[in-house]
């Protein structure tokens, strides 16, 4: 049997067995869970060859599964992050209720994402897409909070997207007579103009929803923050990348072939930019870490969308690199929040403070991830941002640069808020009992933090697969050509101009650590944060001086007029209006049998009157 089948069977069987294993023993359940994620991941990277295809026919539809370089790139995100998150989840879910439910859906959603990447035909693509949607939906509502508002909103948006995609799929099938993606791409240039425009739009709707693109993003903050953090790292890190994956495919294989494509790209790029700004502004205002990170995810996805939409080779490199980075740092950050929530029971900045000495390793990973998120030099985030700006400027998107730059500058605000809110500030007695999260949770975070560090210095590690992937999509090899011509990345490769700078940063840094930190640290003694001098008097032990409520208020006050109008409100008003209409419509059923009988006569009479028109 082919490895691909085996992978899916392990996933599926694993999901079911894991679900029921909880009835036998909890540890068995954990082990089964890990096995059913890690083994397929191993098999995938070890045994599945790129370019290999398997075909099968189901329900009269021929399905085809296989992998190319481009999807392999995303499988790195999905299975890599998925495996780490799985390990983390074992720690996170310890002692929680409904573990079987969680594990089941976790496995299924990893399977679905793998399936999406493996799909070479639209039907299995759609099937896996929907499985991904509902499994993630089920985890989103796992804790039972706000299931009706957040959960349904997520699902409705996903469904609207998915149905748009379904329409596109069947239209493609109508035109080409086949469900294969290859056939669709092949037939696309010869289609009628209206089809050429509508099919990408509908696909982009589907992908835009998952990638939390601007008018379709309203589900994301709620869903991201409501899911258990062990899953949200995958949700925000990997699942949203499926939208990016699809978007890239549509843009490259379809939109590029029509002259109107440039409008698609412009609109998408701007939507991405606006998404970034909106996400950032809202993130700054949040007091809940989960919400903050959720909005931040929306914003980060905006950058990625912009990069993909610009579509020059450099922009693609930037977008995909940012995608990988986003998976890493946002995965880490959600894990951090999860660890904190696990240890303290809350994820609210206004409640938790001063954890830095209690959870040093968590803090370290959070710090590195935040630095990467903010795009500050030594870490990988900077490389992606840099390429993005460069590509925006070289492709003449001047205003967009400003927009993106504004978003990423404003991102510092919430970055700091995140770090300060949890780790800094007064160390309160209330949290004195807090301990570092178990190793099984800390380890994945640290591994990812390490990756970010490495990628900042050696981005080629991930740029190489991206390059292969882009070549698979028909882009030219950018290894020499692009990295040479790029103003930023000139003579990258082995002899890197940036590297001396990075080394010198490291050198200076170490120097000052030696000069100031180490020596100072040795010579001074630690005193509690209660013992602060400058405020005139020493606060009492039970006095809470941490400044955390309304943290970024000055900034928020400045941008308030822009934030009064929320898209969310419009959607809600629309939905309420619809429901009111429905409420009115259903009064047709008056409950009076006579009225119903009159309806029958009305029906007959109307048909008789219009019979010449109807038949």
């Amino acid at each position: 049997m082919n490895t691909i089948y085996i992978i899916f069977l392990i996933f599926l069987g694993g999901a079911v067995f894991t679900y029921f294993a909880g009835k036998i023993h909890k540890v068995l359940q954990d082990i089964l869970f890990l096995v059913s994620i890690l083994v397929p991941a191993y098999l995938f990277f070890a045994n599945v060859e790129i370019g290999q295809n398997v075909n099968l026919t189901l329900g009269g539809i021929s399905l085809s599964w296989g992998i190319n370089y481009f999807s392999w790139l995303f499988s790195l995100i999905v299975l890599g992050l998925g495996s780490l998150a799985a390990i983390y989840a074992v720690g996170f879910m310890k002692g929680e209720k409904r573990r079987g439910y969680f594990y089941f859906n976790f496995i299924l959603s990893i399977m679905a994402m793998t399936g999406i990447l493996l799909s070479r035909d639209l039907v299995s693509f759609f099937v896996f897409w929907e499985i991904m949607t509902w499994s993630s939906y089920l985890i989103t509502i796992y804790n039972g909070n706000k299931v009706q508002s957040i959960g349904i909103k997520y699902f409705v948006f996903s469904a609207i997207g998915a149905y748009a995609m379904l329409m596109a799929i069947v239209m493609v099938h109508h035109i080409t007579g086949s469900f294969l993606i290859g056939d669709m791409i092949h037939a696309y240039p010869a289609m009628a103009l209206s089809m050429q425009i509508w099919i990408p739009i509908m696909f982009l709707m589907a992908f835009g929803v998952k990638a939390a693109m601007m008018p379709l993003h309203v589900w994301a903050p709620g869903a991201y923050s409501n899911a258990p953090m062990a899953y949200t790292s995958v949700f925000s890190g990997a699942l949203s990348k499926m939208g990016i994956y699809g978007m890239t495919l549509v843009l490259v294989t379809m939109v590029n072939h029509i002259p109107q494509g440039v409008w698609f790209r412009e609109v998408l790029a701007w939507l991405g930019g606006i998404t970034a700004v909106i996400g950032t502004l809202w993130a700054i205002q949040q007091d809940d870490a989960k919400k903050l990170l959720a909005y931040s995810s929306v914003a980060q996805l905006g950058y990625i969308i912009t990069g993909i939409a610009i579509g020059t080779e450099l922009a693609m490199l930037a977008g995909l690199f940012l995608a990988v980075m986003h998976a890493l740092f946002k995965g880490t950050l959600f894990m951090v929040v999860g660890a904190i929530e696990k240890q303290t029971g809350t994820s609210n900045f206004t409640e938790v403070t001063g954890l830095i000495r209690k959870m040093p390793w968590t803090f370290l990973s959070a710090l590195l991830a935040i630095i990467a998120l903010a795009g500050i030099p030594p870490l990988g985030g900077f490389v992606g941002k840099w390429m993005l700006y460069e590509s925006l400027i070289t492709s003449n998107h001047y205003l967009l640069v400003i927009v993106i730059f504004f978003a990423s500058t404003a991102a510092f605000l919430y970055c700091y808020k995140f770090l300060f809110g949890f780790f800094m500030g007064q160390e309160e007695k209330e949290w004195a009992h807090v301990k570092e999260a178990p190793a099984v949770m800390v380890l994945p975070m640290l591994i990812m933090a390490l990756f970010m560090l490495v990628l900042g210095t050696f981005p080629g590690i991930i740029l190489n697969p991206i390059n292969h992937g882009l070549q698979a999509l028909g882009y030219a090899d950018s290894y020499k050509h692009l990295w040479d011509t790029s103003i930023i990345l000139n003579s990258w490769g082995n002899k890197v101009v940036l590297q001396p700078i990075l080394y010198s940063i490291a050198g200076i840094f170490l120097f000052f650590i030696a000069f100031l930190t180490w020596k100072g640290y040795k010579n001074t003694r630690f005193i509690s944060t209660k013992d602060i001098s400058s405020s005139g008097e020493v606060p009492k032990e039970d006095e809470n001086l941490t400044f955390s409520v309304g943290f970024m208020q000055p900034f928020y006050r400045a941008v308030e007029p822009a934030m009064r109008r929320q898209i969310d409100k419009y959607y809600n008003a629309f939905a309420d209006g619809l429901e009111a209409t429905f409420e009115f419509l259903r009064r047709i059923y008056t409950g009076n049998g006579q009225t119903y009988a009159i309806y029958v006569i009305v029906f007959v009479v109307v048909m008789l009157l219009f019979k010449d028109f109807l038949f």
């Binding site: 059923y589 009076n592 006579q594 009988a597």
Partner: protein, 127 residues
Amino acid sequence: MDSTLFSYLDYAVYGTAVIVMLIGFYGAMVKKSLLKIVIGLSVIDSGLNLLIVAIGYYKGGTAPIFSQGFLENFKSVSKMTDPVPQALVLTAIVIGFGVTAVALALVIRLYRHHGTLNIDEIKNLKW
């Protein structure tokens, strides 16, 4: 018999049947009492049955019975009225009876449950 007069009679039979039906419909749809509604329903049935039987009629036709006299006098079945509508009407009547019986039983139940026969007050199920 005068042929024009007879053609008016044509209209009379069908017309009566249709009017009976319409009366039934009116009763079933406007009257408030459950019993009157049921009566209306069976009036519809009556009109309908009349209509159906009328279709089978032929001018000057005999009953579709091969009595001794018929066999001797006519020899031709084309002189007989159409037996099929009659057979169908038989079935329809019986079915109508069944439905009416059920409806009446339900009226009893409704009266027991709601204490009224006014259909406007029996609207617990709606929307």
